[in-house]
Each structure stands twice: as C-alpha cells, then as structure tokens.
C-alpha cells in the first residue's frame, strides 16, 4: 500500500524512465449511487465540445476558466510501430529531438524561450503513438503554440544534438537491459508478438539506435507526424473561437498523410514459462495471454471481470490470495492492454526467489477458478460500485481531464461517452461476465516470464529457444 519515500532525487532515475512497450488499458473506470448522482447532478456532467478549424483539424475541447492555464494533449497514431525493424527506435529518437532546436532556435535558445514563457512542451514515442503535451499560462498561449508548431514542423535535427540525444537513448536502453522489470516486460511482448513491431521496444535496441542517422530521423518524422493520424484534446481557459484558428497555425503545416500502419497481430502465447536468470533476491514476473480489443462489444464486461480478478488491486482476487492472505508479494495487478495492433491481458508481480513458485501456482489457480466459475453476484456489484463511483475521480483537474479526453478518442469513443459510460458498466450482468470469462480467460494459454533466480519453477518445453 505504501511506497516509503526513499531518497527519490536519485540521479539515475532521470535516465531510466522509459516506458516499456506495454500500454495499460485506456479505460480505467468508478459506484452506483455516486454514479446516479453523477448523471443527475448538473455539476458533474462533462460537456465536451468538438472544435473543427477552418483547415479541417478537429480537437475535443473542455472549457474551464477557473484557472488561467491551457493544456493541450495530442496523439499522432502510429508511433514506433511504424519503424522498420532495421531502424527500430527512430521514431523515439525523432520525438526526443523535437525539443532540441527548431527554426531559428538552437536547443538552448528553444529551452530558454520556453522558460521565459513558463510553458512546458513534451514529446515522447510509444508503440502506438507519438504523444505531445503542452501546458501554458493563458497569457502565453499564442507564443507557446508557436513554439509547438516550430518543434513539430521545423525541427532542426542537427548532427550535434542528434549524437547526444542518441547517446542518451542508448544509455537508457543499457539500463533497461539490466532492469528486471524492463527485461520481463520486453521479453513478454517479444514472445507475444514475434515478427511484429510490438516485439521491439518503442525505444529500439542498442544496436539499431547506435546506427541511426539523420536520414532515419527525417524519415521517421515524415512517417509519424501528419494531420490524418492526429487526435487532439484541449482543456482550460480557452474558447472554441480562439482555439480553432490556432489549430491550423500549429498543425496545418504538417503533411496530410502519415505512413500506413502494420497489420494487427494475434498474440502467440500458449502457456510458456520462461526463466531469465538474473542475480537478484526477488523474482520479477510478467504473465498473461491474449486480450480483447477496445472496440469489442464485450470490452466493458471484460474490464469489469479484470477488476475482480486482478485489476482492482486491493479487493481483487489475486491481491487477496497472494498479498493479503499469504504475504507473497508487495503488489500484484492485472490489466487489459488493448493496443491498436494487438491486445493482451497481462499482469505483474515480484516475489522472493524461494516463494515465487507458490505465487505462480496461486495465479494459475485463481485464473482457472475464475474461468470455470466466473465471479459472484456480490463481486460484480462491488466492482460496479467502485468503477462507476470512481469515474468522477478521473476528471478533477485540467491535466486529468485532458488525458481522459485524449484516451476516449484513442478508444474510438464519442464526446457523449463520458456521460454514458457508467450506465454501460451498470448494465453488465453475470451472464455477460460468464460469456466474457469463457472467451477471455484461458488457463492453458497463461504464460509467464520470470526474471530472477526462482526456485522450484518448472519451465515449459515450449519455451526452449
């Protein structure tokens, strides 16, 4: 339940933070009573406007003038999955370089401009998207958005900066290669989607990144950033009339079309158990099997089922069995990963080397029990209460609202969804759960990657390579 605040200012942390290929479920819903109140009470309705610029660029806008700030979140769909295998990591390097000088400004001048405005711009690449975030005081919206345009449309990609940024990316990959959590996650994705871009980390590999040159970065820029793959959310002290022309100014200079995305792939997990020997006192485990796409009609029942099995943390079956009853782990959780091109149902935990085998057996047992018996009416009701009640917690603050607005677009949902979603969760029945448990949970296919020195773990023959 707690993370003791150990000396957090550790230098390395700045370098080590780089996301694994996994993307947690886009939908993290909330209680029936609260939900009812939420739907009925006018203060709790979230009214989202869809703003289209004269040039045809669309953004979702939630206008709120309480605080004089504006937040923009954007997602260029495609992301690192557009990288050819031999230049894996190029899109990530490109994204990392967007702040390193653009137009007339070199990297230092660009950073100094942002500091003078007290604005922030962030760019990052994941497997499915290049993500952009901008935050500014309302008085500096135009200047900040102009810097955003400069970064997106006129990046310099200078040789000097490229070499340095590449070196940082490689350093971060080297750290990841020695981090048990990253090893587990990356190995799991590589097993799940062999011969697919999802098998590679979004940041690439040490070998591919070391070989990246300016042409690769320019090519990634052309592939990844365009108007046709752009989703936009804007929240704060700005109205539609002000926003619409700004959208054209910032994004109008991008090419019309992005590169074609790879085909989706089926998860190729069939019950393997892979052990990666690593000298640490506690084994780190990634587990799971095929999931369910976000646009599947059974997604919401699956989401509720996951909450009961392992997604809900405290109160979930796995946490009750493995942490609370037996003290085998500090934390175990599961999540649906409905990425654009492939979907997994995954989980993570860590457990002492001499106890991890017992924990794995318990995961298997809960998986099998839930697959066979489903969940109880009481569990369903508790899950619905939590999921509907907690939905409002995702909307207290501009930054949270912006990320919800973007998440809804990524999931392909409409602007009204936010006001309808709790009813969808409440409508889930035990029959729905039974159907989706049957489709989703496959104890035979449940696969494990274990990094550590686990004792008494039987690895499967299927895992030989």
């Amino acid at each position: 339940m707690t993370r003791a605040s150990l000396s957090a200012a550790l230098a390395a942390a700045t370098l080590l933070a780089s996301g694994p290929a996994a993307v947690a479920g886009t939908e993290h819903p909330t209680t029936p009573e609260a939900a009812a109140a939420e739907r009925d009470g006018p203060r709790t309705r979230i009214d989202i406007a869809e703003v289209t610029s004269p040039g045809g660029i669309t953004a979702w806008l939630y206008e709120d003038h309480t605080i004089p700030i504006v937040t923009l979140e954007a997602s260029f769909r495609g992301g690192a999955a557009l990288d050819p295998a031999e230049t894996a990591g190029a899109t990530a390097l490109m994204a990392n370089l967007l702040r390193e000088g653009a137009g007339d400004l070199d990297a230092t001048a660009f950073a100094a401009e942002l500091e003078s405005l007290a604005s922030s711009l962030g760019f990052s690449a994941g497997s499915d998207a290049v993500s952009v975030s901008a935050t500014t005081l309302v008085e500096n919206v135009e200047e900040t958005f102009d810097l955003l345009r400069l970064a997106l449309v006129e990046p310099r990609f200078e040789q000097d900066n490229l070499a340095r940024t590449r070196a940082r990316q490689v350093a971060s990959l080297r750290s990841d290669a020695m981090d048990p959590g990253s090893i587990a996650s990356r190995t799991f994705w590589a097993r799940a989607f062999p011969d697919h871009p999802y098998a590679r980390p979004a940041d690439g590999t040490i070998e591919t990144v070391e070989a990246l040159d300016r042409d690769d970065v320019v090519a990634a820029h052309e592939r990844a950033l365009a108007r046709d793959n752009l989703l936009l959310a804007v929240v704060g002290a700005i109205d539609a009339e002000t926003l619409a022309p700004l959208l054209d100014e910032v994004f109008g200079g991008l090419p019309a079309e992005s590169a074609e995305r790879p085909e989706p792939a089926e998860a190729a997990l069939a019950g393997e158990v892979e052990v990666i020997e690593f000298g640490i006192p506690q084994s780190v485990v990634a587990f799971g099997h095929a999931g369910i796409p976000r646009d599947d009609p059974d997604f919401i029942p699956a989401f509720v089922l996951d909450h009961v099995l392992g997604g809900g943390g405290f109160g979930s079956r796995l946490t009750a069995e493995i942490r609370e009853r037996r003290g085998l782990t500090y934390g175990i959780f599961t999540f649906l990963a409905p990425n654009d091109l492939g979907w997994l149902y995954m989980g993570r935990f860590s457990s002492a080397n001499d106890r991890v085998a017992e924990a794995i057996e318990l995961v298997r047992a809960e998986w099998a029990r839930t697959a066979a018996e489903g969940i109880t009416e009481d569990e369903l009701e508790r899950a619905q209460q939590f999921l509907t009640g907690a939905y409002a917690l995702r909307f207290d603050g501009n930054a949270r609202i912006a990320s919800q607005l973007l998440g809804l677009q990524i999931a392909g949902l409409g602007t009204d969804y936010v006001n309808e979603r709790n009813a969808l969760v409440e409508a889930v029945t035990l029959e729905d759960i039974e159907r989706v448990a049957d489709r989703l949970l496959d104890p035979e296919a449940l696969s494990f990657v274990i990094v550590g020195q686990p004792q008494g773990v039987e690895a499967s023959e299927a895992a030989v390579r």
Binding site: M1, A118, I280, G315, A392, V457
Partner: protein, 468 residues
C-alpha cells in the same frame, strides 16, 4: 447488498468539550485555504475547489521513521501497513473495501517526519471516509495473524524497492553515512534484519504513543467548504480525547561534521556510472525561509534543464555528460541535504567526472548566476504557483509535508514570496555556505568493470529454461 452507509457506534468515548477553537476561515489571502483547530488538538486545513464533485481527504500524523525506536527501524512504516488491518468494529481490509464500494481510492505513505493516510472520493462520501479515519485513529485492533502476513509483504516491498535495484541500495548506503548520529541515517522501510524483528505488539505500542488527534492534521481538498469540513471533523474526530503520551519530537542531534566522507558501490547491473555528492544543510524554518529559498533557486540555477550551469558546461558546450542535476530537500523537521550529480558519457572515469563537476562549481562561485537565467527561473516560480492550482492532491501534500516538518500555513503562504525575493548575491552566498566539504558525502555508483567505471561486463545474465 450495500456496503455503503456505515453507522459507527464506536466513538462513544468520554466527550471532550466539543468546541471549535479559532476557526479561521478566510484568514490569509484568497487562496481557498482555511484552517481550524479542534479542542482536542486536531488541526484542520481545507482547500476549497469546486471544479469537480470530488474530495481528497488526508490525515497526517507528526510521526515517522525518524521516530522508530533504536533496533526497530521500519516500525512507523509497518504500523502504516497495519492501519488497514482492522479496528474494534471493522474487519481486516474492510476499510479499503468500503472506500472502494463507494467509488473511492485509498492509500497511505510513510516518511521520516510523517505518516499519512489518503482517500480520493466523491464529495458526498466525505462523511463516510472521515468516520472511518477517526475510527482507526482511536480503535486500531489488527489480528496477530494479519501482522505475520503483512510483515512478509513489507519484506517483499523492501526487496522490490531497495534490494532489486542498485540505485536503491546505493541511496541507502549514502544516507547511512550522511548522518552520523541522527535517525535520518536509517531507511524509512527499515533494515532487513530489523524489519524481521518487528511485531504487532511493537506496532501497537508505537500507535499508543504517537497516534491521536493532538498529533494529527486533517487536510481536505476539493468540493467542500471549511464550515462543512469542520462540522464533520467535530462530529467524527471531536469525541476522541487527546493522547497524553504524545510528546514533542526531539531527535538526537548531529555532532559537528569534521571529515568529508566517500563511498563507492559496485553492482554488475550498473550501466551508467555516476558521481553524486550531497551536503548536509538546513531546510526551511518557521518564519525563516530566506536561506532555504536561496538554496532552492540555487538548485534550479545549477541543475534544472539544459540551460542550467551544469548542463551548459558539461552537456551543451562540451559533450561530456549524459545527464547532470542538482537537488535540495527544502522540507524536513531536522537537517536536510543539497546535492549535485554528473552521469558522464560512457567510458569516462568517475574521477574525471568529479573533477569536472568541482570545476563547474568552482567557476560558478566566482562568476555567479547568469541574470537572464535567474530571471527565467523567477518567471517559472511565479507560474508554478498558478499551475499548482490544477492539482489538488499535490497542493494538499505540500501543505501536509510542511505542517509535519515544523512549518506553519503562514510559512507555506510566504514561500513563493521568499523565492521571488532571492537575489543573485544570495544565491552565491548560499552556495558558498552549503558547499562545505566536511559535511559532504561523495558517492560513486559503478559497474563491476574497471575501477574507473566503464561499460557493461559479463554478470552471467542469460536465458535459461529450467526443468530441462
């Protein structure tokens, strides 16, 4: 079945005179912050923000790992875990189950000077969470069995956050020699051999000594007014009598630091060796924040972003380092640290990295800050006060940390002005005062290659399929 409304018949303790002393809504500037104090000593802080029908509800205790008894490091943190294990009327885990059944999230945290409990929940459930938080302030009653499995959880937590990462171990070792005598030298989570000795009895003794309304701060942020919060606090916390065992926190003091200390930690997993140096110094003090403000600005000047002094010299003008930075812990009850670090490019010996780091600081002490950079930092400090308004949780946390670290609400309010007032001369003076070698700990985190810390070496990592 509904878990929701919860009648508590448990706060029927002898009534302290139910009274609100010095309710002061509307004191101070118009920042939406109001305070009150109950007769039993409980302090209340309310940050009203009506944007969403949600509240963040926290109770902070003025006790933490620095108050762990000798030989029982980790006790404050273990108690924090046990606070979820049931009261005289709530079963093990029921607290969290009820919060969840009401669509809320709950968690807790422990540090050196505080232990805190938090829920985020729909504002019409404030009454419920407050009643349960008041219940476990006075009526904690976990079962011995729950303590045994929870101790295993804490042991796994230690393995996960410390022992499984070289940076975690290194940080712990540095801290242990940063303080010569003060309990800040011990890890919050505890040393493994002492965690293993913790018991439910020890946790309950600690609870009996430190928990109670007169050692607690209630913070509510979000969709609630001070009048509403105060009325609920009277109802739920008001009947709990002050705990007579609560004493002023007087930790053992540091002796004068006379000798600079150095350490070197090697771990085969380290891929990007670095040098880090921290200096013992003062944090913010009540009504005396000028020096801490100067150190805060100094950390930005030296280490924030690529326009900072360290980055400019070691990353922009010279391609020497992967990363550089500076940090200062402005809030602590006792002493804190100011630090700098350099992660050199691969293959560069740490000796050289340390020499370059020292040279940059040396030159900075001569030349002082670039006025343009200082002006930009001030702009960012002003703006950060506006940005901070968006995140209620972090506003509430900042206040909680300050109030449990010896500061007052007035100090919290005065802090932005203190930062604003910092001059270039004060930044240099603060740097001269803080960079005293005899208070410093210099750490090298290295791989197991050359003594100078070069690239990766073989540590026998490989894929192996067991059971073949």
């Amino acid at each position: 079945m509904r878990l929701v409304p919860y009648a508590f018949a448990l706060l029927l303790l002898p009534l302290a005179p139910a009274a609100a002393e010095e309710a002061a809504p509307g004191d101070g500037p118009d920042d939406g912050i109001a305070t009150f104090t109950l007769a039993n000593g409980l302090e209340g802080v309310v940050i009203e923000d009506r944007r969403a029908p949600v509240v963040t509800h926290m109770v902070w205790y003025r006790v933490g790992a620095a108050d762990d008894p000798p030989g029982l490091s980790g006790l404050a943190h273990f108690l924090e875990h046990m606070m979820f294990k049931g009261t005289e009327t709530l079963d093990e885990g029921e607290f969290s189950r009820i919060v969840r059944a009401n669509g809320g999230e709950d968690n807790a945290f422990a540090s050196y000077d505080y232990t805190g409990y938090i829920q985020r929940i729909a504002s019409d459930r404030l009454d419920l969470v407050m009643s349960m938080e008041a219940d476990r302030m006075a009526n904690l009653a976990p079962s011995p069995a729950s303590a045994i499995s929870e101790l295993d959880v804490v042991i796994e937590e230690r393995r996960q956050v410390v022992e499984n990462t070289p940076g975690g171990v290194f940080g712990e070792q540095r801290r242990a020699i940063q303080y010569l005598n003060h309990p800040y030298q011990r890890p919050v989570i505890g040393w493994m051999h002492e965690i293993e000795r913790l018991t439910l009895d020890a946790a309950m003794d600690f609870y009996a000594e430190h928990y109670g309304p007169n050692n607690a701060i209630l913070i509510v942020a979000g969709d609630a007014s001070v009048e509403e919060v105060q009325a609920l606090a009277e109802q739920h916390f008001g009947p709990i009598p002050p705990n007579p065992n609560v004493a002023e926190r007087e930790r053992v003091a540091e002796p004068p630091h006379i000798a600079a200390r150095r350490l070197e930690y090697r771990d085969p997993r380290v891929q990007n060796p670095y040098v880090i140096r921290s200096y013992l110094t003062e944090p913010r003090r009540p009504a005396d924040q000028a020096e801490a403000a100067a150190l805060t600005v100094l950390a930005d000047v030296l280490g924030r972003g690529i326009t900072s002094v360290l980055a400019r010299e070691l990353r922009v003008e010279d391609d020497f380092a992967l990363d550089t930075g500076a940090f200062y812990g402005d809030t602590a009850l006792d002493l804190t640290t100011f630090g700098i670090y350099v992660i050199p490019n691969p293959g560069i010996p740490l000796e050289e990295a340390e020499a370059r780091m020292d040279a940059v600081i040396e030159r900075f002490l001569e030349e002082g800050p670039d006025p343009d950079q200082l002006e930009r930092i001030k702009t960012q400090i002003r703006a950060s006060e506006i940005y901070a308004l968006d995140n209620l949780g972090s506003r509430a946390r900042r206040i909680g940390v300050a109030l449990t670290s010896g500061l007052t609400i007035e100090d919290v309010r005065a802090w932005p002005d203190a930062l604003e007032a910092v001059t270039a001369e004060e930044v240099v003076a603060a740097a001269r005062a803080v960079f005293r070698p005899e208070t410093s700990v210099t750490g090298w985190l290295l791989g197991t290659g050359e003594a100078t810390g070069d690239g990766p070496t073989d540590i026998g990592i490989g894929t192996e399929i067991l059971g073949e």
